[in-house]
Amino acid sequence: MLRFFFSRVLVLVPTFIGVSIVAFAFIRLLPGDPITLIAGERGVSAERYAELQAEFGYDRSIVVQYLDYLFGLVTGDFGTSITTKRPVLQEFFTLFPATLELAFCAMVIAIVLGIPAGVFAAVKRGSWFDQTVMGAALVGYSMPIFWWGLLLIIFFSGVLQWTPVSGRISLLYFFPQVTGFMLIDSLLSGQDGAFTSALSHLILPSVVLATIPLAVIARQTRSAMLEVLGEDYVRTSRAKGLAPRRVIGIHALRNALIPVVTTIGLQVGVLMAGAILTETIFSWPGIGKWMVDSVFRRDYPVVQGGLLLIAMIIMFVNLVVDLLYGVINPRVRTR
């Protein structure tokens, strides 16, 4: 197991180096050179230019610059935002809980609805339930979620007036950030209605963000379940006279879930891409909106740092899923 663990971690090293090279190259690939970018539209004199170049180390060889950048990353230096003058890492950690809260709720919705839907669809293969669920899943999978979000706003916020249009909580409530998760913080604050307000702000963005993972999980669960239901051991346990619920719920489901776990892990990248759109629509102050705003503000150090941090999160989650896969499926470990 330990060997399996280290082999998986070791594979990530070249990927991390590659990802850091992409982030490093990003600023240098932008049209115009970084000094002119920093100097802004007024421009700088030739002497000041050389001075700035030395100050930021752009006069050194590209390899030295990269190693310097890499060393900075190891010590937690992900650059400084041009607009706020704050370290990128600090901004990231301020905004990340908002995205995490949203992504977590979306994932809960996707898993809680997706797995049972997939299982029942497989068990009742060909029934109207199966056809409805799979039809809905395909629609969900094809959904332009930025439009889906707008539709939900039109209906639930506009017509029914049930939910707010944007933000994380009503401006009426103010309390200190403890965990960064609005649902928990609002409960801790003890203010009347704060939790309900936070929840009503969270529900639409979560549903929007959950749409594609939900569709993918339902489809994947169904096909994994169908495969397992055809296996000999399922037939054997049926022949032994086990209750159908036991055969499906315990024997079949346990094996069917193995590929589903991988699918769930792969959804993290989908969630991050979805967060960019969802957060933009709902003005959700998370890292997706932060990245889009930074691209528009031309706050390139933030884009560079954010790009790298997001890739690192995805790599980390993929590693965890990989390891988890090794735990639940021992055959992988010996490979």
């Binding site: 590659g18 332009p144 930025f146 439009w147 707008l150 960019i276 990245m291 691209v295 995805i314």
Partner: protein
Amino acid sequence: MSHISAQESEEGVGADIPDRGPKKSVRRQMLEEFWFYFSENKGAVLGLIVFALIVLTAIAAPLIAPYSPILQNRDALLVPPVWQDGGNWAYLLGTDAVGRDVLSRLLFGARYSLFIGIVVVVIAVTVGISIGLVAGYFGGWLDTVIMRVMDVILAFPSLLLALVLVAILGPGLTNAMIAIALVLQPHFVRLTRASVMAEKRREYVTAAQVVGASPLRLMVVTILPNCLGPLIVQATLSFSNAILDAAALGFLGMGAQPPTPEWGTMLAEAREFILGAWWVVTFPGLAILVTVLAINLIGDGLRDALDPKMKRS
């Protein structure tokens, strides 16, 4: 029995039988078999019909669209669709904030979406398959390097990487298409490489090698045709992904620029009217959804028809 022996003798004599006749019928048989499995899937057939209609719409847009997609009528701003109060037969699906006919813009928008899909898929498939063939055929350090580079691309969320690439290249439809193609091609590299590695060891490849086929011929003529099944399915999925991603970039203001009647860009322009004029928001998104759904239905059908594992079930 007689059928089998006839076939055997055919293969045995080989040299003096012109191979055109039987080859043609084999190909036809394959097509027939393909259509048999594809048409089993009713959804796929429906998707194909809808997709064909969208293609026709795109081609005939200048003929059937009532107005120019960029013509502004200052006397008819935000006119609702014809069935609503205040609707007007002159504008079936209403007009947008600057008085352009929504229907005409949607019809012309179909051209952009299909064009985006085709260009992106062609780039991603060509580049992806070439790299994948090289990686899978030659193996060794070249393969390792290529696959690590693909891992790096896949480590980023596709839309984020496309967004950042567009920030480097500059906003616009062409750059958006390049960025999306770059983000989508690792899937083709991986698929091609995996099938090439599996096929490479087969006897027919060794046979061709012994006869003296060059590596290029082995890769492209001998091996590639036998790897096409999953690649076709992936190309279909990439087609719909390209449309979605391009629309998302357009929505974020980084894709096609106004006044281009691209569906995502139309949605971006319509965003501020969501609570006042539902039609400017609803129809472009519906157009994206229907197009993507049709392509994905076709993709499901193709998978059923091309995946030998599915055929048995």
